[in-house]
Subunit: 225 residues, 2 copies
Amino acid sequence: MPQAQAVQQGRARDSRKAILDAAERAFADFGFGGASIRAIARDADVNQAMVHYYYQNKDQLFSAVVERRAGDINERRDLALDALFDNAVPALEDLVEALLRPTIELGHDVERGGDAYARLIVYFNNSADERSQRVAEENYDPIARRSIDALMRVLPGLGRAEAVRGYLFAISVALSVMAKTGRAARLSDGLCDDSNTEETVATVVAFACAGIRALADGRFENRQD
Amino acid sequence: MPQAQAVQQGRARDSRKAILDAAERAFADFGFGGASIRAIARDADVNQAMVHYYYQNKDQLFSAVVERRAGDINERRDLALDALFDNAVPALEDLVEALLRPTIELGHDVERGGDAYARLIVYFNNSADERSQRVAEENYDPIARRSIDALMRVLPGLGRAEAVRGYLFAISVALSVMAKTGRAARLSDGLCDDSNTEETVATVVAFACAGIRALADGRFENRQD
DNA sequence: TTATTAATTAAACGTTTGATTAAAATTCGG
DNA sequence: CCGAATTTTAATCAAACGTTTAATTAATAA
């Protein structure tokens, strides 16, 4: 049986982390079904049985990959929200930036492998299968609900349905620049470049805030006409 | 050898279509790697060798699934663009609606299986692997370029980079409501409902247009500050 | 040192995968 | 009704899959 993470000693840590890193890349590149444990073990330079030794099966390995990163992002988002609402009600721009920046910054952190995880978020965020929805619900629904409430406080004209829509739209826009499909560069003949973090944040925040304000102005849900 | 589609007779047509329908569902639900030809054949109620008989291999089957639908959507988008620019330069709202409506409507057409294809678009549109990028480039890049040009004509303040960004953001927002992940319903406690086509179109168009206008106002790319 | 535990290994398990084959059934023009 | 072309079938292939096992090595505690 593998020891709890805190008690682990010697070589153990390296293998455990190497497996998680390799799995992150594999799931991001090929999806759950397309990623193979054999290839993951090979990429991590580890015996194939070690994957099951530490993570039991493919499903739990997938969950472990998501949980490691989600903790980071949620913590940073929570702190940002606390700070924002400490004194008064912030501007919409500041709120939306606080929501999106942690994810965008992680996605740009190639050295830490954040780009692979960014593609993985895009994957399970847009997948309807049970496993994807489970990790989304467990790891991102709590902060999503808090963010939606925050949106409604900042924009009193925003109903709950519009706030949910606005939040999901904003996230979807942010994720679209992180999928690293190369399509933006292709369609713009190289004019678009996602590598500049600050420029990306500014662009996405501007787009999302304008969109959310539009949802607040017009009322699109539950119309009685 | 399978006959060309036009000359086909008898049950052939049925098998061919049944395979394509089943493959569409499988790829949408499980991704390329997670979908199995055996399960597709079983779902289509067809011998497993028939899949290779008509589509040679898994890759070409995947391409065939996309090509069938992309033709429809592109044709409708092209016609809409022709009509819009026939007399004068249209309003941004009309242009964006013309771009997004065909896809959204297809995604709501459950009887024709459009919901499965909608999820499939989301899949390969957000995937960075070679196969996904190939089908995106072959089937959707031409209309994307035409749409981007149209955006720049409607909004003269929009640079090429911003137009590409705006187009991709708008598409991404539209696709996010089509992934049918059930997340919107979950986060809104049932308040959000994607089944109303007109309401969905109106909401997405309003969000996207406001966002695109924001990109035109502020200049976010190639700043020299 | 010895006993215990954790980490790692190579090998194999049964199953499923994408793909191929050759024969059988069906369809259809002449 | 015949013969050729097309469609369908069952059987099979090697390869890859996720997972398990038993044995071995390395580290820790008594």
